[in-house]
Every structure is written in C-alpha cells, then in structure tokens.
C-alpha cells in the first residue's frame, strides 16, 4: 500500500510538472510564465517531500525548506520587476 501511494504521488507530480512546463512554454504573457515557474518550484518541493517519506532520510527536509525560501524570493523579485513596469508581452 505504501509503495503504491509513493508511486501514485510521483506519477501525479510528474503529470503536474509536464502541465507546468507546457504553461511555461505556452504562456502568452510574462506573469503566466512566472506563475508556471513558481508551480514548478512547488512541485520540486513536493518531489523532495515524497523522497523523504519513501527513503526516511529526514535531513533532506531542510533542502525542501531552502528551496521553498529561494523560490519564494524569486517570485517576489519577479513581482517587483512586473510592478515596476517591466514589459509583459514577451512573445
């Protein structure tokens, strides 16, 4: 049961990752791409969490924490750039 749950979580995360990359490629404007990047970062944190649960290596929780922190900072940096009037239509 545990193995099935781990596999199911990995499959769902992979599908979400593909959809996130698809939006990153498609996104007509820059804000769409920023949100897609943020989604990809969150999914990566999810992968690390699933790995920690399946392998029991708890020190890797800190890796997820640091990744969450840097991804959040990147999102805030992008938001500042967009608020200051960076060009939005990048096609």
């Amino acid at each position: 049961m545990f193995d099935i749950a781990i596999i199911a979580a990995n499959v769902l995360l992979s599908i979400a990752l593909v959809l996130g990359f698809w939006r990153l490629y498609l996104g007509p404007t820059l804000p769409d791409r920023v949100v897609a990047l943020e989604l990809i970062a969150s999914l990566t944190i999810g992968y690390i969490a699933v790995y920690v649960i399946s392998s029991g290596r708890t020190p890797f929780v800190d890796v997820a924490m640091v990744l969450a922190l840097t991804a959040f900072l990147a999102a805030v940096g992008f938001a500042r750039y967009l608020e200051k009037g960076g060009h939005r239509d990048d096609d």
Binding site: P59, V63, V66, F72, L73, V76, R80
Partner: protein, 141 residues
C-alpha cells in the same frame, strides 16, 4: 520603492529571526550532514533580502548594522587565518587542526580550524550576496 504589502511585511518580521537561527543551525551542522558555511550564508542573506523586499533598503542595512563589504572582508580574513595553524605544527598549509575537550554543561566538544573556515565562508557569502542585492535595490530608486 517597497510594495506596501501588509502580508509580506508581517511575514518578513516573523521570518527574519527564524531564518537567521536556521542559517546558524545549518552552519554548525554542516560537518557530517547536509549544510555548511555556503548554504547557511545563503539562507541568512535570503532572510535579509526578504526583509529588504518587504521594507526598504535603509531598514535592511540596519539589520546588518555594518557595511556588507566589511562582513565580506572579515570572513575572508577569518578563512585565511584558519589555514595558518597547521604551518606552525610542521604540517602542510591548510591542514585541519582539532581540539577536543570536555565542557561542564555541553559534554565533549570538538573544535577545529574547519569550523573557523566555515564561519569565514558564511560571512563571505552573506557579504557578497547582500552587497549585490543592496546595490541593485539602490540602483532601482
């Protein structure tokens, strides 16, 4: 300049001390487990950058109290100093030295020049990242 976001400002106030504590934890744990001077310094710098994003450059400079370039220089001096003791003991430059002793409360403590080098790296990373971020933020004004 700042984004006047109440949520971000409140979160920044709460997260700054927690993240600084977490960075020291990562720095000290780094010898046998994930962590170390580089990632610890990066987390500390990220905490202050988060504060900079939520407030303004003046208050972010006040968090550090000294110029980030001074922090960078102090860290570099500390890292170079930690390489010297090996030379006086007839060993090659950069050889790590260990001191073990028993303290009343903490039990067995192992100190080493590796720790001093790691603290130097920690300060260099904080100094260089904050120099870049504060100068970029001031150039935006």
């Amino acid at each position: 300049m700042n984004m006047h976001s109440l949520i971000l400002r409140t979160a920044g106030h709460f997260l700054l001390p927690l993240l600084l504590l977490f960075s020291v934890f990562l720095l000290l744990r780094g010898h046998d487990e994930p962590g170390g001077g580089f990632i610890g310094g990066l987390v500390a710098a990220a905490a202050i950058v988060l504060y900079l994003f939520s407030m303004d450059t003046e208050s972010a400079r006040k968090v550090l109290r000294v110029d980030p370039r001074d922090v960078l220089g102090a860290g570099m001096v500390l890292a170079v100093l930690s390489t010297i003791p090996g030379v006086f003991l007839g060993q090659p430059f950069f050889t790590a030295q260990w001191w073990e002793f028993t303290a009343p409360v903490f039990g067995d403590i192992k100190l080493s020049t590796v720790l001093i080098f790691d603290i130097g790296v920690y300060l260099v990373v904080i100094g260089s990242v904050l120099t870049i971020m504060l100068n970029l933020a001031e150039a935006e004004d």
